[in-house]
Symmetry: C2
Subunit: 261 residues, 2 copies
């Protein structure tokens, strides 16, 4: 089956971090985007300019004759705005980009349901290379699955089918691997600041920790006082954190969890 | 002041992960190592072979006429073995490599005290490039400070003086940035395994999280449900973790801490 992406009119509903990165990746591959919607004019305009298309800040002005709507809003907003998002678009393929919302968040009036979930942490300021980003696709029908797969394959080499249940679990794992990891960096930064030391001291260390995960299972790669349960060091650290009860609790809980695992 | 490292006889007491990486880095820069001690014959022999020198597994057989002893043992072992380590070496420079032990862990009978602390996570299986590793030096006298600085500069461009108090704090920060970060990877791995999914799904994500820390303060770089306090997602995640009370507790505690910071 050959699908020519140029025959498909694509609209982005949402112009946040993910939408911005994805729309720009499409644009770089000469996939035309017909319109951008965002409630926030700055976001809508700036993304529309970047991918040379029109924009609107009114949901009711989103064109109804597109073939694919990529809906990339916060979960709450997607649910709240659902009736206004889908009005008049019953024949189109509606695809959301959320890690935690199931495929059937789309109501039954929508016949062509889809999910297009690129697993990455996106910022507008940092445009990432899409080629290695795992993108997980789901649809309620095989024609649209193939369409989304084709669309994803135009920007990345890593496209897989994935159920809503597994996607939800991946999203949870990603919170640990990305957001919580970043918070460990932030806490380290805070500790260093207390002694006027720069976070840059940590950079070779966090780089090596990340690189190790490419070659060793994280469970096997673990080092440090917790894994060997070096109580002397652990107690000294807890004492150092005596003015930071929250960090002390985090230290204790994670150390226990490391030792157990 | 010019110091010729070739005039200084160096002995390694300890042949663990750090000692192995450091001794090999010295060897690559043609700095001769006169002897390796380790209680574990395999470790002693294998490092001695790698840096073409002799080894012993008996502390009493460590030569007494070296100029610098790099003592790289676990904190507990260093303290327990102290009398046997220093016996007969009162004129030498004794330098330990511990993040948490102070300079004055060396008793008063030792006149030339030193610390040589390279901040990195080391494994024997992965020989790291030393050039960018921050190495923190301390000594009770300026001549030996310069000697250690010269020694460190032979393998890395990042050498600084640092007090015992600040080093202890860096070590604590490193536990967060490295060991705890790695544990977040391990928990993500565990979650993925429950659904037969590979940890490799996370690799582009953890790579990008690490890269962001080079350009943005981790506190500012934070994304995800916790920082915007998206209670719907957070509650769904806590529900998903209902069979994992420990991970649930970690999730809750870190999310609160992210939101607060």
């Amino acid at each position: 089956m050959s699908i020519n992406m140029e025959e498909n009119k694509i609209v982005f509903i949402g112009a946040g971090n993910l939408a911005t990165n994805l729309a720009k990746a499409f644009y770089d591959k000469h996939i035309k985007i017909s319109q951008i919607y965002s409630r926030t004019e700055d976001s809508a305009r700036s993304l529309a300019e970047a991918v040379k298309t029109d924009y609107t800040t009114t949901l009711e002005d989103v064109i109804n004759d597109a073939d694919i709507y990529i809906v990339s809003l916060k979960d709450d907003a997607l649910i709240d705005l659902m009736p206004r998002i889908i009005a008049g678009k019953e024949n189109a393929l509606m695809a959301h980009t959320s890690g935690s919302l199931p495929l059937d968040i789309w109501p039954d009036s929508i016949k062509r349901k889809g999910v297009f979930y690129p697993l990455q942490t996106f910022s507008k300021q940092r445009i990432v290379d899409f080629r290695n980003i795992h993108t997980f696709i789901e649809s309620n029908n095989s024609a649209d699955y193939l369409l989304l797969e084709k669309l994803a394959s135009s920007v990345t080499n890593e496209v897989s089918e994935l159920s809503s249940e597994k996607r939800r679990q991946i999203h949870l794992a990603a919170v640990f691997a990305c957001n919580f990891t970043n918070h460990m960096y932030a806490l380290a930064e805070k500790l260093l600041k207390q002694y006027d030391m720069p976070f840059s001291y940590m950079l070779p260390l966090i780089e090596e920790t990340e690189k190790k995960a490419h070659v060793l299972s994280p469970r096997e790669a673990q080092t440090g006082p917790a894994v060997r349960y070096d109580e002397k060091v652990i107690n000294k650290h807890l004492e150092l954190l005596s003015n930071e009860p929250e960090m002390q609790e985090i230290y204790q809980l994670i150390s226990k969890s490391i030792h157990k695992l």
